[in-house]
């Protein structure tokens, strides 16, 4: 199947303006300018039910519809802060197919009446930002950005902007605070960005991949889009496959593809012929799932029966040699490091989760510590300012729930501990080989 999002894999040099134009580029935007009123564009995107690919799955059309119609200064922000552990899809889109992302953002800007688009790259993406910067230059030179675009009377500027290393800036309000030159810390919603976002003005924040879905929908129509995927999650999805598979990488699949197909057909099966143990379906931010969930579909609802979620579809696969307490510790270390420090439950909670888990992992823990981990985690849930603190609890709680025996082996006697230690060395040794 030809790619819809990762089109640069089919078309050489698609990141170049001329090549993109030759392959139908900016026809969707032109169609909007010529044939549709802004509200009609919103209606098409609503009808197609393009759901947010950053992980939350919120329908883009509805988000756009929240922008007040009489607002004068409106902003569209492309969330290119991609920092979730195991996620590397936006990076490929920005580097390989930047024009499709920008075209989607221009269509969004037209739909909500925005006069400026900011693309907020995480600072570490400076190395891959040149094609995007070039794309903007070419847009201005060819009258596709700036004043009076293609003589339509619509004016919109496009600017890249760079963060400086902070996972939390992927959260939309933290991103907007960072873009305004402040600490990247989220604010308590409401107000939502659609009412009061960048500089206090109505703002739409969309993920890179979400925006890349927009131009093909405008060109082919919502019915075409709704034919792909599942009823609740239409369209294509770029899945980031990593960990213990033979062929890690980005794969564009239809929503509804199963996790088993991802591993076996796309990922070339488990590495070294080892048995599957567990996977994290949404990077660090979703509960771990085990073999019984492998036939679930990749979709926003697919993992609900297994108490987990697709999120941004960053699938980290782990084989039978993986020490799950170690894996949980890796994840909680990430969240503790990335907690912005603004709200107490997250700042203190992630600290204690890491500290207690470290004790357990190193063999200094007791059975009581497992209880403490659960207590701390449940005291964070529903009490944090943003989703980071909430997400931080899932790797801990879900590994305790699925792999309690491993936790128990860590905190009990040397006999079991010794077995665990032998197991611990295997994944690392295997990983080096």
């Amino acid at each position: 199947m030809a790619h819809i999002l990762l089109r640069h894999r089919d078309i050489e040099d698609l990141h170049k303006f001329d090549v993109y134009l030759e392959h139908g580029g900016y026809q969707a935007f032109q169609k909007c300018l010529e044939a549709y009123k802004p509200q009609e564009v919103i209606d098409i995107v609503k009808k197609a039910n393009i759901r947010g690919r950053g992980g939350a799955g919120f329908p883009a059309g509805i988000k756009w519809g929240f922008i007040p119609k009489d607002a004068e200064d409106v902003y569209v922000v492309i969330n290119a802060d991609e920092s979730e552990t195991g996620t590397f899809k936006d990076r490929e889109l920005l580097e390989g197919n930047p024009h499709q992302v920008i075209e989607g953002a221009l269509i969004a800007a037209y739909a909500v009446g925005a006069r400026a688009i900011y693309c907020y790259f995480r600072g570490e993406f400076m190395d891959i930002a040149a094609p995007f910067e070039e794309a903007i230059k070419d847009l201005y030179a060819n009258g596709w950005a700036g004043e009076n675009i293609q003589g339509s009377g619509f004016t919109c500027h496009v600017y890249p902007t760079y963060g400086a290393g902070a996972y939390i800036c992927g959260e939309e309000t933290a991103l907007l605070a960072s873009l305004a030159g402040d600490l990247g810390q989220p604010w308590s919603k409401p107000p939502f960005p659609a009412q009061s976002g960048l500089y206090g003005e109505p703002t739409v924040v969309n993920n890179v991949e979400t925006l890349a879905n927009v131009p093909p929908v405008i060109v082919n129509g919502p019915e075409w889009y709704l034919e792909m995927g599942t009823d609740d999650s239409p369209g294509p999805k770029v899945v980031c496959l990593s960990g213990h598979v033979n062929r890690p990488g980005n794969y564009e699949v239809e929503m509804g593809t199963t996790y088993r197909e991802l591993i076996d057909d796309y990922g070339g099966g488990m590495r070294d012929g080892r048995a599957f143990k567990a996977l994290l379906p949404s990077g660090g931010s979703g509960p771990v799932i085990t073999a019984d969930a492998l036939d679930a579909p990749v979709s926003f609802e697919g993992l609900k029966p297994y108490d987990s979620l697709m999120g941004s579809a960053s699938v980290i696969v782990m084989d039978e040699t993986t020490d799950m307490v170690w894996a949980a510790l890796k994840m909680i270390h990430f969240f503790h490091h990335e907690s912005c420090g603004k709200c107490t439950p997250c700042r203190e909670g992630t600290f204690w989760l890491e500290r207690v888990l470290e004790d357990v992992y190193e063999g200094h823990g007791t059975e009581k510590d497992i209880q403490i981990l659960e207590d701390v985690a449940s005291n964070m849930q529903g009490k944090c300012l943003c989703a980071l603190g909430e997400f931080a609890t899932s790797p801990v709680l879900s590994t305790i729930s699925h792999f309690l025996d491993e936790y128990k082996a860590k905190v009990h006697g040397e006999a079991e501990g010794a077995t665990m230690e032998a197991d611990q060395e295997t994944p690392e040794a295997a990983a080096v080989a």
């Binding site: 552990t85 400076m126 190395d127 902007t161 290393g165 996972y167 980005n250 990077g283 890796k330 690392e428």
Partner: protein, 178 residues
Amino acid sequence: MGKLREKHEDVIEGLLARYPTKKSAILALMHLAQEEYGHMTQEAMEEVADIVDVHPTHVLSLAGFYSLYYEEPVGKYVLEICNDLACALRGADEFVEMACEKLGIPVDGTTEDGLFTIKTVMCLAACDKAPMLQCNLKYAENLDEEAFDELISNLRAEAEAAGEKPSVVKEVLDYARQ
């Protein structure tokens, strides 16, 4: 006039022109300042504060919050190795150990000749190409011991050759020049 203004006046003006407020340009200007001063020195922070009209303590708070700003001196080449879960499943922890041993420094340490600093960092969106690192933000992926040796010897050669070292930050921010 400070060093930044003297050397990069047009880039600075271009960055400021991207936003309706001066303060929004602060992160980019801090990146530029760090390239010029080596790390976030007092002088660097004061100059950035002066350009965007904020108190230097605001710059200091940002330097503490964002992980890409260095508050202490670092080597000419900062090797940021990801050892998050996805990379660690493909040998990143062992790679960090090997790199530290080869350069004779611990994590966060700098070699005596001032050339290399090793840091471990959170996910860099290259999980399928682990072990990997960024050297002064430039990606180096699918690494093993041999590739690491080659990288280090190339960097040593580059350091010995005269001329300014290549800078990802400067190359990208240069697009703001008008």
